[in-house]
């Protein structure tokens, strides 16, 4: 049973999109996240740094041949925080009854 806990850091719209995307993956390429969420390089870097500083995300830099590659993964702390946040959102919706349902 996951203890619901609303997370202000995750709930910010752009970060919610990024974390939701990462939550379904082991890791994701920087360009893939950027294109999926529709952010500029700098905007995504800023959001990933915020998540990294919070201890939710790990950023890895590597080389494929001579090309640099950056990828991000939601670590176990981030996964738990995300699951708790989802549970908190579900609780809010559940308390409102059947009048409000996610699509």
């Amino acid at each position: 049973m996951i203890e619901p806990r609303f997370d202000e850091l995750i709930h910010a719209p752009t970060r919610l999109s990024i974390v939701s995307l990462l939550a379904a993956t082991e890791w994701a390429d920087f360009k893939f996240i950027r294109d999926s969420v529709g952010l500029s390089d700098s905007a995504l870097s800023k959001q990933l740094t915020t998540l990294e500083d919070a201890g939710y995300v790990e950023i890895r830099k590597s080389f494929i041949g001579k090309r640099p590659r950056t990828s991000a993964r939601l670590n176990s702390v981030g996964r738990v925080a995300f699951e708790r946040h989802v549970a908190a959102l579900q609780e809010i919706v559940a308390r409102a009854g059947a009048s409000v349902r996610p699509q």
Partner: protein, 160 residues
């Protein structure tokens, strides 16, 4: 818990979460050409075996191995350039579905081939595998959709 977050805002956030996860899971798509390629390679390999000519068997075996490895690598590596889906999304049901799919194709191909051989039909292995290959081409896309459904059901926020 924030008192100021309205239920409709929470519902919108849950919808966003589900859509983002669906966006990633939909990438785990085995393209239709893959099933056709594997089916074609299987039939070609069987035809080489049925020919009973060492050179044809050697060429057929080589083409089959290289072809299967190349096609599979292209599908797997193509997807992994962008992201790798969470390993636990598939779960035991997904693994069983894949094993069941392979077992069904074999369960159709092998008895057909042996029955044709017993009946004295020429090229029994080729014809038996052809039946299995047709089954694979027809049901491969269904397997892909089924696996995606399993992963969508296991994503965060799907249990209510």
């Amino acid at each position: 818990m924030p008192e100021d977050l309205r239920p409709d805002e929470a519902a919108r956030a849950l919808t966003e979460i589900r859509q983002r996860q669906e966006q990633v899971i939909k990438l785990a798509n085995i393209p239709a050409w893959y099933w056709w390629a594997i089916a074609g390679l299987m039939v070609g390999f069987s035809a080489a075996i049925d020919s009973h000519r060492p050179l044809a068997i050697a060429i057929g075996t080589s083409l089959f191995v290289i072809g299967v490895l190349t096609a599979t690598a292209r599908v797997v590596i193509g997807g992994m350039r962008r992201t790798q889906l969470r390993n636990d999304l598939l779960g035991p049901i997904g693994v069983l579905a894949i094993l069941g799919f392979v077992a069904t194709v074999l369960a159709v191909s092998l008895p057909t081939a042996f029955a044709l051989q017993a009946a004295g039909v020429r090229y029994p292995a080729t014809l038996g595998v052809l039946v299995g290959a047709i089954l694979m081409v027809l049901s491969g896309p269904w397997l892909t959709r089924f696996l995606q459904r399993i992963m969508l059901a296991k994503r965060a926020g799907s249990q209510r």
